[in-house]
Symmetry: D2
Subunit: 137 residues, 4 copies
């Protein structure tokens, strides 16, 4: 999943603000699902959300305005109630890793109560468990 | 309504990003309602939203990180289906106006269809129509 | 310029928050410049910014999470000190216009003082003045 | 440090988006410094930034639009090149912890190179190391 650092995402240090990465991870996660035939929009419309329970980001180098970034996504846990993704945020121009990150999720219903993710979504997810991201992604 | 410019709200020009003002206007609007005994949270929970149909901001001077700002709010139109607010974003330290702005709104139901705002909310709003903001607010 | 509505850009009304459009306009403006061989990053690095002096957005219909949007950009004023763009935010799936918008800008130096935009940037800009966006853009 | 969840900070799950917490931590950190006589604005103007190298947030319960939150800040590491803060995001109405978090920082110059934090800032910081946040803060 590729994106460009938006001007609005920079701060007065002249770099992308660290909170922007959290938004990019989410956008990359949604795109990763889409590429595997899973629409997060459909999941949401079925009344289920993958609520975020933890976010961890390690910032190694700064991203600058207009940098093109690749976010590599790897599903590292896929249980009926618990999911975890690992990410690398890579500068497209030279392949340097700018940040690594992880998120964990629980599936919840519209009231926010944890529920088991229906097989309909769980099965396809399991297929991609621990799949190493291709360098082209 | 007072707020401080957050670091995340700055951009690499070293000033508050112009999109931040739109968020401040909304926060000030909610606070303006609250001070008048109208909870926007309650309006939302009753299934009604004041959807924004227009935003206009004139940027006169920059706001800087950590500047304390006052947002003055004036209700300039309050009909059953149409509302408009006028705003001044003022630097608290010296009273200089950094931006003026206006928003218009329609009341919509949860399906996004325009509806008449119930008297319960319309009446108190009308009381404050065109009330000049006090300099202390 | 195409983009997808990010989950983080939605609000509890279930639609893209109105402040998100202001950020999309900027991203589209930067992309519009890039497609015409003008790097806003280079302009910034030369010590010049195109500071926003006005933003106006008319919201016609809601954008939803994961909607693919096209932002059409038209340069409508290009003087040495004043620029203006017009925008249409279009839902890619059916071509419906969700919002129209305008921004005006002045060129400023790193101290925020208005300056004339150097010919180096002004000339190429003038070439694209009032050019109607192609339907494919 | 108290704040209110802004409408723009919610998402279509009807809760505050998880990226908003990262911005609140920063605002709380700046406020924590200010309350101790240390202006982050002055640090920045002296050419030094406390660049974020890690953010970790554990989300325990959701924050809702208009919730009043208290962010408690504790400085847990203060070396010449490395700082770490711990946070609790607490719902003001009932004292329930919604999230715990940690950030680590290095002091960098305007070129982004790690530098030792001058004694001028380091000494006052050390005074507050591991100070337990008062329940009233």
């Amino acid at each position: 999943m590729k994106l460009r650092v938006r001007f609005a995402e920079t701060d007065q240090m002249g770099i992308a603000h660290h909170s922007s990465y959290v938004i990019w991870l989410e956008a990359a996660r949604v795109e990763w699902l889409r590429e595997r035939g899973i629409s997060y929009r459909d999941i949401e419309q079925s009344g289920i959300s993958l609520a975020v329970t933890n976010v961890t980001v390690d910032y190694l180098r700064s991203a600058l305005f207009d940098d093109e970034l690749t976010v590599q996504v790897q599903l590292v846990t896929a249980k009926s109630r618990l999911f975890a993704f690992h990410y690398e945020v890579i500068r497209a121009s030279d392949g340097v890793t700018l940040a690594t990150a992880g998120t964990t999720h629980v599936s919840v219903n519209t009231q926010g109560k944890p529920i088991r993710l229906p097989q309909q979504w769980l099965e396809p997810l399991n297929k991609y468990l621990n799949q190493v991201p291709s360098t082209s992604s």
